[in-house]
Symmetry: C2
Subunit: 225 residues, 2 copies
C-alpha cells in the first residue's frame, strides 16, 4: 500500500520512549483522547479541554509520578535516544526495515521533545487501593496508540512498563477495563498474565444523576434535629 | 426474636455519623474488612494488617480527604451528636422505636470516639480520573455495614454522602463495582441514579503474574543499544 501523500515514512531503526508527560504535551494528549473516543465510538462523551487537562493532570506544585493522576507519552525517534532522563519510564528499539511505516499525522504530532520525535500514544494511570491487600495498586484508565503505530509491540511495552513500575513500588495490583466483545484485547491481556474478572460490573453515577446530590445528601441531609 | 446474650440493644432514637477515620480506627477497620471478606466468601484474598492499613490510609503528614485513599467510619450514638465536627461527612437520626436492634458485637466495636458510640460500617474511596471528561471522580472501593445495622438506610446514607462530596468538589463521576448476580444491590444502586455498565470487564494483574514484571519491563527492558 502506498504511503498517503504528506505522510512521513519511518524505516530502518526507530527508538521508542515512554516518558512522563508535562504540560507541553497537553495539545497532543487532547488530540489522542479524541482519537480514542472516535475509535470507541464514544465522541458524545468527549468533553476534554486543554484547560481542564492542564489543571487536573499537571497541577502546580507537581505531584510525584504514580502518587496521583499520571500521564505518560509515547514518543518515537528517528535517531537513537540520549541516555535515559529522569522522565524516561521505558525505552526500546523498533526495527522497521522489513516493513516501513507511514505516519500521515507525523507533522501534527511532532513531539515537544524535538529531535524529529513524533508522539504516537499515551497512558493515563493513577493509584487505586485494595482493602483486602491493604495496599495501593495502579489503575490504567487509558492506553492508546495511534493507528499507524499499532501491532508493533508498543501497547505491550506501555502496559509492561506500568506493571514494572507498580511491582517496583511494592504495589499489589495493576487493573484496567476492557470491553467484553474485544476478544483480541482480552487474549492480549491474558497473554500478559492478567485475569479478566467475569462477575464484576461497573456502576456509574454521573451527569444530572450526580448533580442531584449536590448540597443534598438525601438521607444524610436529614440532620440530627 | 430474643436478643443474643451479651448483645447491646438499641431502641428509640439513635444518631448516625459518617466521619473521617483516623489511625485510632484501624483495629475496627481491619475487623470490618475481615467481615466483608467473609460476607463475600473471599477470605482467601484477605491479607490486610494493622500496620499496612495504618501506613497506607493514614500516612504522615496526612493528605487532605478525598485527594487520595480516604477512609470513613460509620458510628452510631445512643445520644444526640454534638454540633458537627470538621471530620463529620454526614449525620442523621434513626428511629428504632418500632424495631429495637440487638448488636452482639457492640462491645467489640466500641468507637474510639467514645460516648457509647459503636462503629457499624466503613467506606474506602479514592479519586479516579475520566479522560473524556478530563476531570477527577471518586471511586468507592468498599462500602460495608455490619449485619445488625443493615436495612436501615445506612448504606444509602453513606453512598449519598460520597456522591454529595464528589458533586460539591466539582468531580465528574462516582463509580464502584457490583457482582452481576447481586440483584438486590443492582436494584438499589439503580434506584440511586447509577447506571450499571454491561460491557466493561475488569482486568487484573496481581500476585506472581505481577511480580514477574519487577525489574523486567519485558519489551521495555530491551533498552536502546
Amino acid at each position: 500500500m502506498a504511503a498517503p501523500a504528506n505522510a512521513t515514512t519511518f524505516s530502518g531503526e526507530v527508538w521508542a520512549e515512554l516518558r512522563l508527560a508535562d504540560a507541553g504535551d497537553v495539545p497532543h494528549i487532547h488530540a489522542l483522547i479524541h482519537q480514542m473516543a472516535e475509535f470507541e465510538l464514544l465522541t458524545d462523551l468527549f468533553a476534554a479541554t486543554h484547560e481542564l487537562l492542564t489543571s487536573t493532570l499537571f497541577p502546580s506544585p507537581p505531584r510525584p509520578p504514580f502518587t496521583s493522576f499520571t500521564a505518560l507519552i509515547l514518543d518515537l525517534s528517528p535517531s537513537p535516544l540520549p541516555v535515559s532522563a529522569d522522565s524516561t519510564i521505558a525505552s526500546r528499539r523498533l526495527d522497521l526495515s522489513a516493513s516501513p511505516l507511514a505516519d500521515p499525522e507525523a507533522a501534527a504530532f511532532a513531539s515537544p521533545s524535538g529531535g524529529g520525535r513524533v508522539s504516537a500514544g499515551f497512558v493515563i494511570c493513577f493509584p487505586n487501593y485494595s482493602t483486602f491487600l491493604s495496599k495501593p495498586g495502579l489503575y490504567v484508565e487509558d492506553i492508546f496508540v495511534r493507528a499507524p503505530w499499532r501491532r508493533r509491540g508498543l501497547g505491550r511495552m506501555m502496559l509492561s512498563a506500568v506493571a514494572c513500575k507498580a511491582a517496583e513500588l511494592g504495589m499489589g495490583r495493576v487493573e484496567w477495563c476492557v470491553l467484553d466483545w474485544n476478544k483480541n484485547a482480552i487474549d492480549f491481556y491474558e497473554g500478559m498474565g492478567a485475569e479478566v474478572l467475569p462477575q464484576w460490573r461497573i456502576c456509574r453515577l454521573t451527569g444530572a444523576a450526580l448533580d442531584k446530590y449536590k448540597g443534598n445528601q438525601e438521607e444524610g441531609s436529614k440532620a440530627t434535629e
